[in-house]
Amino acid sequence: MERFIIQTNQLNSWLKKIIESVPRVLAPVNDGTKTEFRQIKTVDEVAYDTLTTTSSVKAAAFPESETLFSYRKEGKNTELTQVSPEAYPETVVWRARPCDAIGFAPLSGIFNWDYKDSLYNARHAKLTVIAFSCNTCDDYCFCTSVDGGPGSTKGSDILVTQLNKEEALVEILTEKGTKMKDLCPDCFKEADQNIDKESVLAKIPVKFSKEQVHDFLSKAFDSPVWKQQSARCLGCGACAYVCPTCACFDIQEEAHGSRGRRLRCWDSCGFSMFTLQTSGNNPRPTQATRWRQRILHKFSYMPDRIGEYGCTGCGRCSRACPVDMNIKEHLISIASISHE
């Protein structure tokens, strides 16, 4: 890992170079009362005044909907065409948060634990993540309880930490990161190895350990906690759609006469129809069983099967929830049961 210092007033020069040379640059952009990742064309569009975006950055590698292949029927024959990976744009995410970047590890786990998903992999390979450390946090944040942190470098190609008004520390973590740095070599100078970024980071207290949650879950399938916690859950998909690691999807067909395409689009385990079988049998018939699936999937099944937890502690699901299903609060209470 290489460490550099950039003058704050040089950040925009660097970003400008990136916008000039990369076809798609995504960054947080203010939009009404919310902030979302959008493609930017100029440096002024970036919103630096917000903690996080409503949605996570996962759509950069796992979009809301994407074509799996298209088909064309001619007489009785059918011809299939695949999307060439060249169609996926080289993408830079500017000012992601560490809790965004770290989410690509579980996503990559899901898409590669057995069969390899070439579509996700092709998009991910073309993605460079430039994250900015957090110097503030809010009540929903709990990254430090799930092994992340306001200055965590995991999943980022570059991590920028604002040290003071004038200077920022730039940690180049991967080759992709080096390429981005090289777009503006004059902007950077070697950093003093003694620089300690920890002191400027937000202080986010550790509220529980994910292992505690994991241990409780191994024997919690029939626990009353699921019904208690999920009583107010409305069964919408907001939490899953804004989550940086939720990857459940639906496969759908778009048909126009003899041509069409098969595509996948986001889906959520919170929807009552998610597991409904044609026969009418539903293995997860109540919201309590669906909430249990959500938590178990993230904190038990995923670590057991792919060695990654499905939660980055970003708190987006809680902020997006219409009825304040605060996952931090729920996890703390689960971890405390495991203590008893």
Binding site: E36, E64, D139, L234, G237, A238, W266, M273, P322
Partner: protein, 261 residues
Amino acid sequence: MNKLNEKAAALLQEGTVKLIIGYEQGTEKPRPLFCTVPEDASRLIFNDQCKNNLAVYLTKKEIIGDEKIAVIATYYVMKSIVQLDKENQINKDNLIVLTVDSDGEVIEFNDYQEMEKYADEHVPAPDPKVVAMLEKIDNMSREERWAYWKSELTKCIRCYACRAACPLCYCNRCITEVNCPQWIDPWPTPLSNMEWQINRVMHMSGRCVGCGACAEACPLDLPIGLLTKKMAMDINAEFGSSDDGNVLSTFNPSDKENFIH
């Protein structure tokens, strides 16, 4: 302990009800609370920040069960209960409706007429922001309106929080889940998002109580509450207030015809 907490604790203590649905303080604003034991009652609050429409739970069998329950109702919860009752979705015998007046006194309604009367005497003032926005859109040219809505609805991620938060969206199988034929594409595009909202509004016509829970629920803060609000205003202007609920399930031979040539 205030009167609401006392009343709720007593109802549970006496065994009058098995469950009380009310509000508690959440992370940043009030959220729904389900009290099953008297101890829970101390967490109950009631103020004008209580925005969730709790009537949404009254059609969920897995939540309310078969026994008597109570709900602590805002104006919009009461209006929703009236509408749900018109649609035969409520078991009146098993539901106690409570509210809290401006002095902190708890009111228990003996019947729905009393509740409706109370509600009609306590209509909240319309949100000036919504009124202003509606006027602004009405004054736009058609092209501007199209551009505005296309831009807003392009952001929709189709999480269906609007549907889930609405007490009157209680279909077992929503039109979006009907796939023979697939009326509305389940993935987000400006068009399918718009089709979804048009369907939502059309299915709500004459039924919507105007609580704004749909807009409140939207994680992206899309102005979808304007659609139902506008629809309700149009319906009022075209047909007057209708007593039997769904204006589209009935008609008047003298409905206007000026657009039919």
